[in-house]
């Protein structure tokens, strides 16, 4: 197997995973606590990126391409998903004139 990088990285795998976990946590609590749909949406994207960071790190430290391949797919799908998601939010705003989640509660029992 051919090593991807000749030189050893300055920080170890745990450091990368820690950053990834931190990003995921920020995103997660953002989803749980923020009230603006757009911000919640950005937080969701943050969680997605946290997972891609972890995958890239795994790929590098294991010396395989699998993680990188995953990331390519995730980026592609994320692009499409952003387009759809933002469109929904815009449509929602046009219809309801608000994007605050506490006012979007029509599915209540």
């Amino acid at each position: 197997m051919i090593p991807l990088l000749a030189t050893a990285p300055a920080y170890g795998l745990p450091s990368y995973l820690f950053v990834s976990a931190l990003l995921f946590a920020i995103g997660f609590f953002g989803v749980l606590l923020r009230k603006n749909t757009l911000v919640i949406y950005m937080c969701l994207e943050l969680m997605l990126l946290a997972s891609t960071l972890a995958l890239v790190a795994f790929s590098k430290f294991n010396g395989t391409l699998d993680g990188n391949v995953f990331v390519f797919f995730i980026l592609t799908i994320a692009a499409a998903e952003v387009a759809v998601g933002l469109a929904i939010i815009v449509a929602l705003f046009r219809k309801r004139h608000t994007v605050q989640v506490e006012e979007l509660n029509q599915l209540k029992h």
Binding site: L32, V101, L107, K108
Partner: protein, 620 residues
């Protein structure tokens, strides 16, 4: 020839379908179509007879594993004879209906009903197995219901049709059990295969006889037939006198091979008791059609009794052979009865039509001069049924009486007494209706019916005169009777003289008594002079209805109410409402999860993910 048989079966069905789909408002076209088809049926049945070929053929219809139901046609001597009666008498009655029902609003429905009846009846006649017979058996029940109910805005007609249907259901339940048991015991219900090989059993023929008991109105299921007279008179003639009620006798003859002595004994006594009971009831009836209805019941009892008397041994010189004389005598009487009873019913129809729908004989009188053709033909019918020498009924009744004399003296005595009663009530009916002076405005203004109604009467009158002699002497239709003619018991020597004397004696005693006893008056002479006997007979007639009413109202209705209560509590209350309530409660709980807050859903998601992870990690 098979094509002819299929054609004769499907033609009336096609007619009924066309009338039901396209001609409901065109009464005139519908009536001509139906009558034309009936004429074609009569013509084809005669062509089949002329050709003389006998055949059978069947196709598989349904198969469930090893059990299969087939549809087939069995055209043997029995079917040939019956098909001729149904086709020919059916055509004449269609013709009569053209006149009788001319002013009816629902003519198309009436003639459509006649066509569907012809289809069903021919199906019974041609069926080659019991399952197929059962299908058409139910179809004639349906068409009978439809036609009794023709004047459905009349409550009594609606009730009568319901009664006929329900009483027949009781008999048909036994019939169906018999068919299933026959299949279970023999592995087949095909008549030919049963004839070759079958298991001897008393239960099978008796259960099958239940079907005949319902359809041919034998004791104790006879109650529906007199009420069925609520239908139009041609229907009474076709269905409730000449053909459908005779289907029970026909079916018995079909399954003759299955009979065992014990079963025959039961059948014989039921027929005998029905014959005498109905004859007693007929004496006190005021309605012209009711008299004829009880007379039909009585004659059907005669046929059933004749069938039950079974076979006799004949000695031809050295040879000794056993012939199924019961079948011969029953079918012989069925044939002649179809002619003269259809004649009398159509005659009564002509009288009712002429008297502007008056049916009470005590309000008629003096119709002899006003309706000469009806009078003459009706008189021939009366003479035929009371057994006037050399008329149709004379031969067929003598055949039955001779058979009874040979086999069972008690039955012979009862049947001879019934013959006395028959002459008595028929002459009473005849005298009060036609002789004397007109006793009401309707009768005063009576008029003879048109040719379309009198022509069938004349043809049937001719058949009532020569219908029986053709079997023996003239050889008019040897092909018609076929092997059945050979089965008719004939008396010889001293027995012949005895039977002849008995026959003449009963006719003279009964007829003479009625002729001298009854006056052509507006009241019943019997009711005036022998009030006690009269009320006894009336009570006898009503006793069955009273018992059934009591049973339905007091026993069955109470039982149904108990069942209804249990159903409300257990089934509807506990099971259905209980289960629904439980599901509702679960729903109330589950609704709490749907808060409408997006973040709450995210928490639920987190909780779910945590649980899933814990499960995957093997924590619980």
């Amino acid at each position: 020839m098979l094509q002819h048989a299929i054609l004769i079966l499907l033609l009336p069905l096609a007619s009924a379908v066309v009338i039901a789909l396209f001609l409901r408002k065109q009464g005139a076209i519908a009536s001509w179509l139906s009558t034309g088809v009936a004429g074609a049926i009569a013509a084809i049945s005669i062509i089949l007879l002329q050709h003389g070929e006998r055949f059978e053929s069947s196709v598989e219809w349904l198969r469930f594993g090893t059990f299969s139901v087939s549809l087939g046609i069995k055209y043997d001597d029995l079917a040939a004879l019956m098909l001729f009666i149904v086709g020919f008498v059916g055509f004449l009655i269609h013709l009569f209906s053209l006149g009788y029902m001319h002013d009816d609003q629902a003519r198309a429905r009436f003639f459509g009903g006649l066509s569907i009846f012809m289809f069903s009846m021919i199906g019974i006649v041609l069926a080659d197995n019991l399952f197929m017979i059962f299908i058409f058996w139910e179809l004639v029940g349906f068409s009978s219901w439809l036609l009794i109910n023709h004047y459905h805005e009349k409550q009594s007609a609606a009730d009568a049709s319901k009664k006929a249907f329900i009483v027949n259901r009781v008999g048909d339940f036994g019939f169906l059990l018999g068919i299933i048991m026959c299949y279970w015991a023999n592995g087949t219900v095909n008549f030919t295969e049963l004839g070759q090989n079958h298991v001897f059993s008393t239960a099978v023929p008796l259960l099958l006889f239940c079907g005949a008991m319902g359809k041919s109105a034998q004791m104790p299921l006879q109650v529906w037939l007199p009420d069925a007279m609520e239908g139009p008179t041609p229907v009474s003639a076709l269905i409730h006198a000449a053909t459908m009620v005779a289907a029970g006798i026909f079916m018995l003859c079909r399954i003759n091979v299955l009979m065992v002595p014990q079963a025959l004994e039961v059948i014989m006594w039921i027929g005998t008791v029905t014959a005498v009971y109905a004859a007693l009831c007929a004496i006190v009836q005021r309605d012209i059609k009711k008299v004829l209805a009880y007379s039909t019941l009585s004659q059907l009892g005669y046929m059933v009794a004749a069938f039950g008397l079974g076979s006799i041994a004949l000695e031809h010189g050295e040879h000794k052979m056993v012939i199924a004389a019961g079948v011969g005598a029953a079918m012989f009487h069925l044939t002649t009865h179809a002619f003269f009873k259809a004649l009398m019913f159509l005659g009564s129809g002509s009288v009712i039509h002429g008297c502007h729908h008056e049916q009470d004989i005590f309000k008629m009188g003096g119709l002899r001069k006003k309706m000469p053709i009806t009078f003459v033909t009706f008189s021939i019918g009366v003479l035929a049924i009371i057994g006037f020498p050399w008329l149709a009924g004379f031969f067929s009744k003598d055949a039955i009486l001779y058979l009874a004399m040979e086999k069972n003296t008690a039955v012979f005595a009862v049947l001879a007494f019934t013959a006395v009663l028959t002459s008595f009530y028929m002459v009473r009916l005849w005298k009060i209706t036609f002789l004397g002076e007109a006793r009401s405005d309707e009768a005063k203004h009576a008029h003879e019916s048109g040719l379309v109604m009198t022509l069938p009467l004349i043809i049937l009158a001719v058949l009532s005169i020569f219908g029986a002699t053709g079997w023996f002497g003239l050889g008019l239709y040897p092909k018609l009777a076929g092997s059945i003619a050979g089965l008719i018991p004939e008396a010889h020597g001293a027995a012949h003289t005895t039977i002849l004397l008995v026959s003449l004696a009963v006719m003279t005693i009964g007829g003479g008594a009625a002729l001298f006893f009854y006056k052509s008056a507006a009241t019943d002479t019997l009711e005036e002079k022998f009030r006690f006997g009269f009320s006894m007979l009336t009570g006898l007639k009503e006793s069955f209805d009273k018992v059934y009413d009591y049973y339905v109202a007091k026993v069955q209705q109470r039982f149904a109410m108990v069942l209804n209560f249990l159903e409300q509590i257990v089934l509807a209350g506990a099971i259905i409402r209980g289960l629904a309530g439980f599901a509702g409660l679960v729903g109330y709980g589950a609704r709490a999860f749907y808060t409408g807050s997006l973040q709450a859903y995210a928490y639920w998601f987190l909780l779910g993910a945590a649980l899933l992870w814990a499960y995957a990690a093997g924590i619980f």
